[in-house]
């Protein structure tokens, strides 16, 4: 059975592995205990005490808070019920003019605002850029991922979710 040590995986999360170190992790058989090791690393890393139930994003976690499963940023900002799209709690910048788009892309090399706009979703707590959406004007905000937490723990991992 392949297992990668916690220190190596922690360095991987920080982007510190060289390609020579990363290649065997990419190409080799996957370590079945990966989820648990990563959860341990993340729980030690976040500055708050709530139990992580599922990592959702580079900065966001589904955590247990007062008996509820909520989305929380590593800065401490709480987005509320994980079944509601966390983006609806973000601050949003819409780049829908040529001038705004050309701050990021050379002329001719960004979208045309008549056809598409670029949205930036920021954490209201730390203003980290959490997501971008490149969509036509007026497109509803996309709810990217709604996990079935209990099915995952009970049917796939064979144990109760941490809050059950």
């Amino acid at each position: 059975m392949v297992e990668h040590d916690k220190k190596t995986l922690a360095r991987m999360l920080d982007g510190d592995l060289s390609w020579e170190e990363l290649k065997p992790i990419v190409s080799g058989r996957k370590d079945p205990n990966r989820f648990d090791v990563i959860m341990e690393i993340l729980q030690e890393k976040v500055p708050w005490d709530e139990k992580i139930i599922l990592p959702l994003h580079e900065h966001l976690y589904i955590v247990l808070k007062n008996g509820e499963r909520i989305v929380k940023c590593d800065c401490g900002f709480e987005f509320g019920d994980y079944r509601v799209n966390w983006k609806t709690k973000c601050r949003v910048r819409v780049r829908d003019t040529m001038e705004q788009i050309e701050e990021l892309y050379l002329k001719y090399m960004g979208c045309h605002p008549d056809w598409m706009e670029l949205r930036e979703y920021f954490c209201p707590g730390c203003l980290t850029l959490l997501d971008t959406e490149s969509v036509p004007p007026g497109y509803p905000t996309v709810f990217n991922f709604l996990p079935d937490i209990d099915a995952f723990y009970e049917n796939w991992l064979g144990r109760k979710a941490p809050d059950k």
Binding site: H57, L104, F122, V135, P140, D148, W156
Partner: protein, 738 residues
Amino acid sequence: MKEKALGWNGKTLKEMLLESEKLIEEKKQYYGIDKLSLKEQDPFRYERAYASLRGALVSARETALHVAASPIVKEIGELCFALYTPEGDSIVVSTGILVHVHTMSEAVKFMIREEYEDDPGINPGDIFLNNDPDCGNVHTTDVQTLIPIFWQDELIGWAGGVTHQIDTGGITPGHDLVSAVQRFDDGVYYTCRKIGSNDKIWKDHFISARRSVRTPMYWELDEKCRLAGDLMIRDAVLDFIEREGIDYYKRFIREAIEEGRRIVLERVKERLIPGRYRAASFMDGAFKDEAWQPIAQADIMNNLPLEILVKEDGQLSLSFDGANGPSDHPFNCGKGAMEGGQWVLLTQILIYGDKVNDGAYFAVEKEYPLGTWANPGDPYLSYQAPWGNLIPAYTGMMKCISYGLFSRGYREEVVPGYGFTGDAIQGGGIYDSGPIEGERWALSTFEISGQGLGASAVRDGLDWGYAMWNPEADLGDVETWELFQGGVPYLARRVKPNICGHGKYRGGSNYEGIAVVAFSKKVEFFGAREGNAFHGCGGMHGGYPQATGYRLYAKNTNLEEIFKNQKDYPLGDPEPTDGEFEKFIEGDIVRKFASLIYPITLKNYDIFHFSLSGGPGYGDPLERKLESIKKDLDDGIYTSDKVYSIYGVVANYNEDKDEWIVDEEATKKRREEMINERKEKSMSFEEFWEYERKKITDGKLYDAPLRMYTESLQLSKNWAKEFREFWKLPEDFQMEVK
């Protein structure tokens, strides 16, 4: 009517197909197999048996490609072989373009449903040809050769091979024709046609085929390539039966497919999280001012929404519900195209391994809503360039799977998407001088095989080295392309700065090229990639989409004089607002925001530019490490003004050391400023909602997105309901293109 049916135990092939479909429907297992008895009884024999067939297919591919002539097949391996059950389910697939795990399967089923067994008859040694997207192909450019395999008087399988052609005789030269607007523009159609017997392709077929395409030599040798591979597979299957016995073979092929199905379910449970995943991607087509044909003169924006349900048992369910309608353009997709795009990606990101077959097809539910671009239900539309929708649409699948991989802890596998393998500059001409004066050349470079891959959650994306439709992406040698398309030698190729998707980890980067028309007459040229819209569904977790494409060429230039006087000429277009075309040459320089152009005529000393794509980025750019930025600057991936405006990095070029030095103090200050700017320039979600809702209700949307919304609202009740609920619109709210 034949005296004896071709199927097993006196059944017709149609009866076998119906029985197979009934069993999978009722038992949810391939052919109702609940136990892999051969594998359990003697796993070594079973694995050896599988490996021998798989090896035979890989060997057939590697051998056959040397029979081929077209550089697309020979140089970069655009071919694939597969072995099918009598009903048309793939058992084993070769390496190569795994687009075709299931495509030829539909062609076999088409022949069975149409009762080819009776007419035109299926006999040992018969050869069938198919390139019809309405029965299991992606586009007319992919040409399939299928032969039946018999043991005694029973049909025990099919061998199939597919190659990608340079030209299939469409409305203009080329392999992905932007100007095809109906079936009759797509080139020559072979709808599961019998073209040979006794292992020999009929002479009348070759005569006809040679006159149907612009590149007859490539066509003929590629046909021989596919037949050679098929015959090698047939020999290997017959050897297998001699060795293992027919009863073993018959059971083995069923178990191999059922095992393929189970492998998918297990892999999904190993890597993902059950739940609902969604991504939104789009494709623009600026046809309004380009199309010749009145029916095609409309700008289009295609809605490519993907929802994936990962179920408790590991089954994947994909749906394109919400897709907008088909159009009088070449991007429409039949089932073969939808399956092809799906399989070539799933086998790269999730179900890689040697046991990939139609078991995987049976493990994935899919919905391609009738009447949309994903299933128009009209064979008379054009299906010539379905990749125009497939490539961006399936970025959504990569992104959805990546959310699961991320949460499961496999961050090294995360890839939010890839660059569009667009700008396949195409066309052709006739040599007007030199040793082969009067001969035709076809412009068909497949350098597009090297695009930027998206960043992962732990590293930057791969530069100039990925094509979603070929897991063995290889852009070939430029010298080979020049040899075959000699009328357009290259003037330059170099890294194009500022095109990758920005992020903590940037997407892969890429390069641009410039070519000149030479020694030719009657030159046609066209090209296409995204231009008004970002490609696919963009970056992930704060990463940005990669830059879009655009069009640049110059006619009536003074290049002849420049060459004679050995003066400077353009080597690229690193800054479009201060272009080298404008700086170094005189002539009619054309720059267009949209990349897509219908064929234009060019003459000697006209030049054109083309650019390949970067990949989308991952994570907040302000978290990118400074040493990575320095390397980007040193390598020419970014320019200093853009790392300032995107990454908040202040850097200065040190001429003595010939390198960029990052000013850490100034960078820290600039990044703090940018955080403050984020607060000032953003709004609350509630304000955003009001701001965006007005764009829907004030009636000022541009034609292309307006048409997209109008069609999606009409075609999908569910999508329309969610759309109206999100914006709190009346239940009967509709949109309309005036």
